[in-house]
């Protein structure tokens, strides 16, 4: 009996292998497990988002979805691997704006080109937010700008990593306000927080969910959202006179040669997942913004951002 079962278990991978070999011949998509790969370490915003989507996604697709990780080089390792993966839609990778735009732009060889990865759906965003410690001398954004003008380069702003939304957001803000600040990248959103709370940096360019998570330990000065956010007691940058609305956009991408109908099927599935009431509720708990960019709109978003960033970085002389 036991031996029979062992045999049956042993046959499963063989069957999967066989299926995989046949799947090239067309037919319904999807017909086997989808690999949802995150190019980051587990535990971050992308991971939490993917874990929330996993179950509803399985229901919509009718196939199991496995989440795995391929971290390294701020995501670049995973994305360059994606460009070499099979264009069959079974390898879906989390991808973030602005990372996928800025890395190829600012590194000599990031291992991939932005256009070599095909966006499927962008479903979540977290706008940038400039926050200071609760007992900081800066009450408003105006205070901060005034202090920065007084000692150029003397104020330090921490954020999550290089070439991230926090990084470019700090550059955008400094450019728009005509100030000079020192941006210090930390190892992720969480790692930057103690530097602020301990008074080692003057302010933090972080993401809006942190305002909620850190509660009354911090004071948000302004957020880079299009409109004021529910439950966030801070003005937008636009309201303060700076026309800035940006943040991190999270979505999924596939290899660029993936057939359009497969991309559409995947996009529809992610769109349907975004309607799931439980997921909407959980997104709210994490203070994530729900976004709905279909493949075409995602491309437009990437194009628009690319132009914006190119102009800014060119002006700052950062494009080597």
């Amino acid at each position: 009996m036991i031996r029979q079962r062992a045999l049956a278990i042993a046959l499963v991978p063989a069957a999967v292998l066989g299926l995989a070999a046949c799947s090239g011949g067309g037919g319904e998509f999807p017909s086997k497990r989808i690999d949802y790969i995150l190019p980051f370490d587990p535990g971050g915003e992308s991971d939490i988002t993917a874990r929330l989507q996993q179950q509803p996604l399985e229901e919509v697709l009718g196939e199991s979805v496995s989440i795995s990780y391929k971290p390294g080089a701020g995501g670049a390792l995973g994305w360059s691997e994606l460009t070499r993966s099979r264009p069959d839609g079974y390898t879906v990778m989390g991808c973030n704006i602005p990372h996928i735009i800025l890395q190829p732009m600012l590194r000599d060889d990031a291992g991939y080109e932005t256009k070599a990865i095909k966006p499927v759906y962008f479903f979540q965003s977290t706008p940038n937010a400039l926050v200071v410690k609760a007992d900081s001398e800066f009450e408003t954004l105006e205070d901060f700008v005034a202090a920065a003008k007084e000692k150029p380069g003397g104020l330090s702003v921490g954020g999550s990593g290089d070439f991230s939304a926090n990084h470019i957001g700090t550059l955008q803000f400094a450019d728009a306000a005509g100030i000079e600040v020192s941006y210090t990248p930390f190892d992720g959103t969480g790692a930057a927080v103690p530097a602020l709370l301990g008074g080692h940096v003057d302010a933090l360019m972080t993401y809006t969910p942190q305002i909620d998570a850190l509660g009354d330990q911090v004071r948000p000065l302004a957020i880079m959202a299009e409109e004021p956010m529910e439950g966030v007691d801070a003005p937008t940058f636009a309201e303060e006179g700076y026309d800035l609305a940006d943040g991190a956009y999270r979505g999924v991408c596939v290899q660029e040669d993936t057939p359009q109908e497969i991309v559409d099927t995947l996009a529809e599935s992610f769109a349907a997942v975004n309607e799931d009431p439980a997921l909407v509720e959980d997104f709210k708990a994490q203070a994530f913004n729900l976004e709905n960019y279909d493949p075409a709109q995602s491309l437009e978003l990437i194009d628009a951002r690319t132009q914006e960033y190119t102009a800014l970085l060119d002006k700052l002389g950062m494009l080597g």
Binding site: G72, D187, G190
Partner: protein
């Protein structure tokens, strides 16, 4: 207090107890596999916790985490495969003990250390969370830099042979750690034109490569183990209860290492990897039998294991009170807390006290459960490894190393890096450059660099930013510790040299 009682009552339901047991056992299994991190295992569990109520989900995650940190000691001891930086020091002494046929004693020591460490960490979490969290905030980039340097000073005490070769190993490790994208600044460095090296030398494949692969190579080349298992030896050896009481006779090491673990554990980002090394080094420094270290000192295993399990409770201090995850696994627990609508903060203990206490008690209970489960499973595993013929042990370790190096980010390149480093480590070992300094450099180099560059960037308002590394009060304390770390082993080495000389003289006289 009412909350604490309620937390205890909630925990004592049969279902919760079962969850703690399942979590601990599953965690141990994952932790024992090199390459499968606690973080990865926790991420797999998260969807299950969605279906549970908040308390049960947290209990499962906490128990799993505690078990995973302990499980790492098995492979470190038995086959020299530390699955995470947390069990590096365990491998130093534990594997030597295995070579001497004392693996059972090492497993018992690791179990005892883990149980006590886990409990001490939880005590810190329960009673000292708010003040310790405030203290951890005083560590800025400059202090992180000095903490890493302090860790590097361990190299000097550890180089038994030649200090020069120890330093060579350390510098080599730091250099290897600079490959890939710079941790701060985003520069692409030393990739030899190979984009897949942009991710740097991945830590876990490197650990397996440096520690385990040379042992596999030796096994294959010799066609046998370095030690032969004598069937009689098993029966002669002490019973495990005897081993435990022997270890308990020296409680100072246990308590000191646990406290070190809990305290260093509160430092986000550095805690886990540094704590076991520092505790090991302090145990060695305080020991009257220093010469035993590096040759299978059971106290070294106790120190490393009690420290790394104490970081579990310590790491949750900033997680729960500040919302800052102390370690990557903490980040996952934090995410689940947020999903359940709990907001970390100093008032979490008062507002959602019962839940927090249930969680803390679950960690403690899991630590206690590790004793019976670990002694059963750990000793069974130990017997299995000892009795397996060398010709099956070698391929079994090899295939486990390969799958472990691969799984961490599904990359064949990582497996290649592992083997290359393993061969390199073997030859360096033959010329007297040990792997321990290389690993220290590899682990601590990036922490030091982060602190260094961030410290310079945040101090742009100073005329001379680098001066801030020497003027902050906490930095000065750490600098003094670094100096002591360099000078102390030198004095001790000299003393020892004098003693050996005297012994030699005396023997000459007798002859």
């Amino acid at each position: 207090m009412g909350d604490a009682l309620q937390g205890l009552v909630d925990l004592l339901s049969p279902l919760t107890l079962l969850l703690v047991l399942v979590g601990t056992v599953a965690g141990m299994a994952i932790g024992a596999m090199p390459g499968l991190s606690a973080t990865m295992g926790l991420a797999l569990l998260v969807p299950f916790t969605f279906a549970m109520d908040p308390g049960a989900g947290l209990v499962l995650l906490g128990a799993f985490y505690m078990g995973a940190i302990y499980g790492g000691s098995f492979t470190a001891i038995l086959v020299n495969a530390p699955g995470t930086p947390s069990s590096i020091a365990t491998a130093f002494e534990g594997y030597r003990m295995t070579k001497q046929g004392r693996s059972e004693e090492a497993i018992v020591a690791a179990t005892l250390g883990s149980v006590v460490g886990g409990l001490v960490g939880v005590l810190f979490l329960l009673f000292l969370a708010p003040p310790l969290a405030d203290f951890s905030l005083r560590f800025g980039p400059q202090e992180y830099f000095w903490v890493a340097i302090f860790g590097l000073t361990i190299i000097i005490g550890m180089s038994t042979g030649s200090v020069l070769k120890g330093l060579v190993g350390g510098a080599l490790g730091v250099l290897l750690g600079t490959v890939g994208i710079a941790p701060v600044g985003g520069d692409v460095r030393f990739t030899f034109g190979e984009p897949s090296l942009q991710g740097g030398v991945p830590l876990v494949p490197a650990l397996i490569g440096l520690f385990t692969v040379p042992e596999v190579l030796k096994l294959i080349a010799r066609r046998s183990r370095e030690f032969e298992v004598q069937p009689g030896a098993e029966a002669e050896s002490r019973h495990w209860t005897r081993m435990t009481t022997d270890l308990l006779r020296k409680p100072v090491n246990l308590v000191r290492s646990s406290v070190i673990g809990a305290l260093i554990g509160i430092l986000p980002g550095a805690g886990g990897s540094v704590a076991n090394l520092v505790a090991y080094n302090e145990a060695k420094r305080a020991s009257k039998e220093r010469h035993k270290y590096g040759h299978g000192a059971v106290e070294g295993v106790v120190a490393a294991e009690s420290a790394n399990n104490a970081t579990v409770g310590g790491g949750f201090i900033p997680t729960l009170t500040l919302g800052v995850p102390g370690t990557p696994p903490d980040a996952i627990v934090l995410g689940v807390l947020l999903l359940q609508g709990l907001r970390p903060g100093a008032d979490l203990f008062t507002q959602s006290g019962d839940l927090v206490y249930t969680f803390a008690f679950a960690l403690a209970l899991s630590a206690l459960m590790m004793a019976p489960v670990g002694l059963l499973a750990g000793r069974a595993l130990q017997r299995g490894v000892v009795l397996l013929p060398a010709r099956y042990l070698a391929p079994a370790i090899a295939v486990t190393s390969i799958v472990g190096a691969y799984a961490i980010r599904s990359s064949v390149i990582d497996v290649a890096i592992m083997v290359v480093l393993g061969v390199l480590a073997y030859f360096l070992g033959r010329v007297g450059v040990g792997v321990a300094p290389i690993v220290l450099g590899l682990v601590l180099g990036p922490i030091a660099e982060r602190g260094l560059v961030q410290g310079l960037l945040v101090s742009t308002d100073h005329a001379l930013p680098w001066l801030t590394f020497f003027t902050r009060p906490l930095s000065i304390v750490l600098i003094l510790m670094c100096v002591a770390g360099i000078v102390w082993p030198m004095i001790q080495n000299r003393k020892q040299a004098v003693v050996t000389e005297m012994v030699a003289e005396a023997e000459k006289d007798r002859a």
